[in-house]
């Protein structure tokens, strides 16, 4: 939004890269249009961002304008897992299990700094960003992000859904296989590198003056 030029929000236009048949592109366009405008969110609300998510869902910043007012608290009917709030290590297996039990196609919005990168909780108890556990589609910055910021994140996700080639390319919906020993999606070295403290958080571990 700030530095990079805003991506062109393609509401109607749809230019598939390869020359698929006219039918599949029209059908894909119809399927994507249907999915984008009726994403059922699963609010995985843990902390302060959940209150801001409730404010977004309430009547002033109404989420119903995006077809998302129907909250689904069971992963079986959910399309989007919105992780609103910090995720401690005790909660990591829960969010991993819920993500795995969601049917494809599924997306993840990581709402807030704590979900996206561990935020200000750089200590022994908090997962440093849920992208080390589950693949994330949209990161919404802020602590907590304003409802407009969350809605902007949701609109970015809708753009992504509109541009997916949902019928012709089935590989993008394959379930990611877990490495059985460590149960990770990404290799351990990458997790350590992702969770490294950055900025002035590097020397925050001095307890004395």
């Amino acid at each position: 939004m700030g530095l990079t030029p805003a991506t062109k929000p393609s509401l109607v236009s749809y230019d598939p890269p390869s020359q698929d048949g006219w039918v599949t592109t029209r059908l894909e366009f119809l399927v994507n249009w249907g999915r984008a405008n009726s994403l059922w969110p699963m609010p995985f609300g843990t902390a302060c961002c959940a209150i801001e998510f409730m404010a977004t869902a309430a009547s002033r910043f109404d989420l119903a304008r995006f077809g998302m007012e129907r909250m689904s608290y069971s992963p079986r009917q959910a399309d989007v897992l919105i992780c609103a709030g910090r995720v401690p290590f005790k909660l990591a297996p829960v969010i991993r299990r819920i993500y795995e039990q969601m049917p494809q196609p599924k997306w993840v919005i990581s709402m807030g700094a704590c979900a996206s990168s561990g935020g200000m909780f750089d200590n022994y108890a908090v997962v440093q960003g849920i992208d080390t556990i589950i693949p994330v589609d949209v990161y919404v910055p802020g602590c907590p992000p304003r409802p407009e910021a969350l809605i902007h994140g949701i609109m970015m996700l809708q753009d992504k859904v509109r541009q997916q080639r949902s019928i012709s390319d089935q590989q993008q919906y394959e379930e990611i296989t877990i490495d059985p020993s460590s149960r990770f999606y990404i290799p351990a070295a990458q997790i350590d590198e992702l969770s490294e403290p950055f900025g002035n958080s590097v020397h925050q571990t001095r307890s004395a003056p």
């Binding site: 995985f44 609300g45 843990t46 902390a47 302060c48 959940a50 209150i51 801001e52 409730m54 404010a55 309430a58 009547s59 002033r60 909250m71 608290y73 709030g85 910090r86 401690p88 005790k90 909660l91 829960v94 969010i95 819920i98 200000m120 909780f121 200590n123 022994y124 108890a125 908090v126 602590c143 907590p144 304003r146 925050q204 571990t205 001095r206 307890s207 004395a208 003056p209």
Partner: protein, 437 residues
């Protein structure tokens, strides 16, 4: 609730923890035909075949647990035989981080801990830090802090009211209460810049003084809130479903409530007229004219009435505070804690050094410790600070009222139906950020 031998009167208390905290299991002995007999039960006792029991998780990800609380219920049909709460799913090491931060740097942590009452927490922490430093704050700051704490109490009760009504099937109060809460968000934002995580207080003062037009915005809110409260009152208080689902649930008698350490609306609903603002007053609360709402039976319905009345009393306090709001500085002019004015800091040399030194090293309190209790919407919220003279506290202990209130849920929930456990859990007004710290 006598448990039948089928429920295996094994030693339910587990002394089975190793010296450094790992789990040691109590071995189960199984007779040849597979019936598991406890160790000390005389052999040959015939287990009576009661109806099967079911263990279900009302777990961390559940719409009715107000956050990531997990209740494991042992159900006999629909009646709850045993309710075992599991918490810790939002434990983020607040108290550990407190020992690595300076005193002014802890303020952003206080509003992320009980995120419904963020302004109230900031001020409650500032009060205990100011007593640790031995600072008296200015009159204008005192009255401003009373207004902020009472407003914070109102919006915390509004979220409780909205979510409890949803738990019992009434969706519209949620939209009304969040509409009111949005107006207060606007007030917070114009005053401090943030809607939810305000970080408004500083040791010895506030982050900023009121912007112009803020008082009129507050007066408009004080006119519109009673209308919403009356509308919700008309809808819920004498509503057959609401009364039927809340009266007689989770009853706590006065002596039990005191022994369980309950506080706030939970304690007052059981008939104990203990309010920190009246008994251990701070910020000149004793000079305001208001009274405490005290219930009689201590059930879910009384807690609802006490909280509704508390919101009306908070409006009374804010109106009196608005009349007496004095002018004058908002920060105490004590160079140990308050930064010099920006204009002086950039022009005079020693102000710049003072500014730099204070920001880099942080204020240093004298050696000592103090505990200041304040009345948060959940109960008696206290900060116990221990300092060894350095700029980072040795111990930052948060006295979590909802944590102690929640510890009584197994006593309140057992014997009721499954849907009543949801109502009882909602009536405790839990915020998992504060419970799990």
């Amino acid at each position: 609730m006598a448990t039948t031998t089928r429920t295996l009167e094994v030693e339910l208390a587990t002394q089975s923890l190793g010296p450094n905290g790992e789990l040691r299991r109590v071995p189960l002995t199984a007779t040849p035909d597979g019936v598991v007999m406890p160790i000390d039960l005389p052999p040959g006792t015939e287990p009576d075949m009661g109806s099967e029991r079911m263990l279900i998780n009302i777990g961390p990800q559940h719409p009715a647990t107000h956050g990531v609380l997990r209740l494991v219920l042992e159900l006999d049909g629909e009646t709850v035989v045993r309710c075992i709460p599991h918490i810790g799913y939002l434990h983020c090491g607040f108290e550990k981080i407190g020992e690595y931060r300076q005193y002014n740097q802890i303020i952003p942590w206080t509003d992320r801990e009980d995120y419904l009452n963020s302004m109230g927490n900031n001020i409650s922490y500032a009060l205990s830090a100011e007593r640790l430093f031995g600072i008296e704050i200015t009159p204008r700051c005192t009255v401003l802090r009373v207004i902020a704490m009472e407003l914070s109490r109102i919006i915390s009760h509004l979220v409780w009211l909205g979510t409890t009504a949803i738990d019992m099937g009434a969706f519209t109060p949620f939209l009304w209460t969040f509409q009111e809460r949005e107006t207060v968000y606007n007030l917070w934002e114009s005053w401090v810049g943030a809607r939810l995580t305000t970080s408004a207080s500083r040791i010895g003062g506030m982050a900023a003084d009121l912007p112009s037009g803020w008082i009129d915005g507050l007066k408009a809110f004080l006119r519109s809130l009673p209308k919403t409260l009356d509308e919700t009152d008309r809808m819920l208080t004498r509503n057959g479903i609401w009364v039927g689902r809340t009266v007689g649930l989770g009853v706590m008698s006065a002596s039990e409530a005191i022994n369980y350490g309950l506080s706030g609306p939970m304690l007052r609903a059981s008939g104990v007229a203990y309010d920190v603002r009246k008994d251990v007053p701070y910020l000149d609360y004793e000079t305001y004219d208001w009274d405490i709402a005290v219930g009689t039976k201590g059930d879910v319905y009384d807690r609802y009435l006490v909280r509704m009345e508390e919101m009306r009393q908070s409006i009374r306090i804010i109106e009196q505070a608005l009349q007496r709001l004095p002018d004058g500085p908002i920060n105490v002019d004590d160079p140990r804690v308050i930064l010099p004015a920006k204009s002086k800091a950039t022009s005079e040399m020693e102000s710049m050094i003072h500014h730099f030194k204070l920001v880099m090293e942080g204020p240093r309190p004298p050696i000592g410790e103090c505990y200041v209790a304040t009345e948060s919407p959940k109960g008696e919220k206290g900060y116990y600070l221990v300092s060894d003279g350095t700029s980072k506290p040795v111990r930052w202990r948060i006295r979590p009222p909802a944590f102690v209130n929640l510890s009584a849920i197994s006593k309140m929930a057992e014997g009721h139906l499954l849907s009543d456990v949801i109502a009882i859990n909602a009536s405790i007004d839990i915020v998992m950020g504060e419970i799990d710290r």
